[in-house]
């Protein structure tokens, strides 16, 4: 369900960007943070479904997964967070701010103008 809503929003966003431009979208480059709990296969599947009949129906959805990174507010070091433990691996502080991992953005699209 989650992926379906995201797929719909991707389509809407690209439609807004393209407006009345006649173009076929061949590729969509996405950046998705790991914290977003998006399953790439599910998103691709849902996007196929919502894009059917539109200028993006054959577009390849390329998903770049962004790791969750944090910075320790105590010792100022940054690190990748692989499991949901928001604790500094250097000093053990739990005063960790997120640097990345919540992205959900369309970086670029590739089009063929018709």
């Amino acid at each position: 369900m989650h992926e379906l809503t995201i797929a719909e929003n991707i389509k809407k966003t690209i439609e807004e960007v393209l407006k009345d431009k006649k173009a076929v979208v061949t590729r969509i480059n996405l950046r998705v943070g790991k914290l977003r709990a998006v399953v790439p296969e599910a998103l691709i599947f849902c996007f196929k479904f919502v894009a059917e009949g539109s200028s993006m129906e054959n577009a390849e959805l390329k998903i770049q997964e962004i790791p969750v990174k944090g910075i320790c507010k105590k010792c100022d070091r940054d690190f990748v967070i692989d499991e949901p433990l928001f604790i500094c691996p250097f000093c053990g502080s739990n005063h960790v701010e997120l640097l990345s991992g919540r992205e959900l953005e369309i970086e670029s699209i590739e089009i063929e103008e018709g």
Binding site: I6, N9, A37, P84, F86, L104, I106, S108
Partner: protein
């Protein structure tokens, strides 16, 4: 041809959420967004909280039940305004969008309100993605759900200010360690305020209600 567009996919929702925040602060109304898995006790908790606070504060409830009006009917006896959000008939939506919350809020007399409870759709994933513009997010885990929810749905616990551990009246019959649940939650978000409650017996409600009242005072001072 490649076009750089750099758009956040949920930018539209985020913009509406931001304007909701402004709307709420203009009217000095505190908005709490309650989220949990299905059946953790959102409706019961709202029921008990409204009952306890309604003599001192002007309250309304926005309900986002996707499939029925059952929750709205249950709450209708409280004697406060209840707005049911009509979600997509085919979508089976799994969260509330900021624009629906806005529409619901605008149908209330905001200047005559102190506090709005939003009951979000029962789900720990999607509601975390879609900011409603509420002042505070409150996540509820009921004891029978076990200790691991914060580790499985970290974003939800990151965006929340309060964790309500509900159904603690069942502690003696369950093999669930409340302390582990607390520890997991604090690992994901050390700033979480945690209250152990039972919407059935009323246990633990004092501290939760005190927290709400403190937030109401803060809102008023702004």
């Amino acid at each position: 041809m490649e076009i750089k567009i750099l758009r956040r996919v949920l930018a539209a929702n985020e913009a509406v959420a931001k304007s909701n925040k402004e709307l709420f602060s203009q009217h000095g109304v505190l908005v709490l967004n309650l989220m949990s898995s299905p059946g953790s006790g959102k409706t019961c908790i709202i029921e008990q909280s409204v009952e306890a606070l309604k003599n001192d504060y002007r309250i309304a409830v926005i309900i986002g039940d996707i499939t029925s009006t059952i929750d709205a009917q249950r709450l209708s006896g409280l004697g406060v305004p209840i707005i049911q959000i009509n979600t997509e008939p085919f979508g089976g939506e799994c969260h509330l969008e900021a624009s629906w919350v806005r529409e619901a809020a605008l149908s209330l007399n905001l200047q005559d309100l102190d506090l709005i409870f939003i009951e979000n759709v029962g789900n720990l994933v999607c509601p975390a993605e879609f900011d409603t513009g509420a002042d505070k997010n409150v996540v509820i885990v009921s004891l029978p759900e076990g200790e691991d929810k914060p580790l499985k749905y970290p974003l939800m616990f990151r965006i929340s200010s309060v964790l309500l551990v509900n159904k603690i009246d069942l502690a003696s019959v369950l093999d669930v360690d409340k302390k582990t649940l607390h520890r997991n939650a604090l690992q994901v978000n050390p700033n979480l305020q945690i209250f152990d409650i039972s919407a059935k017996t009323g246990e633990g409600f004092d501290a939760w209600l005190k927290w709400i009242e403190a937030e109401l005072r803060k809102k008023r001072q702004q």
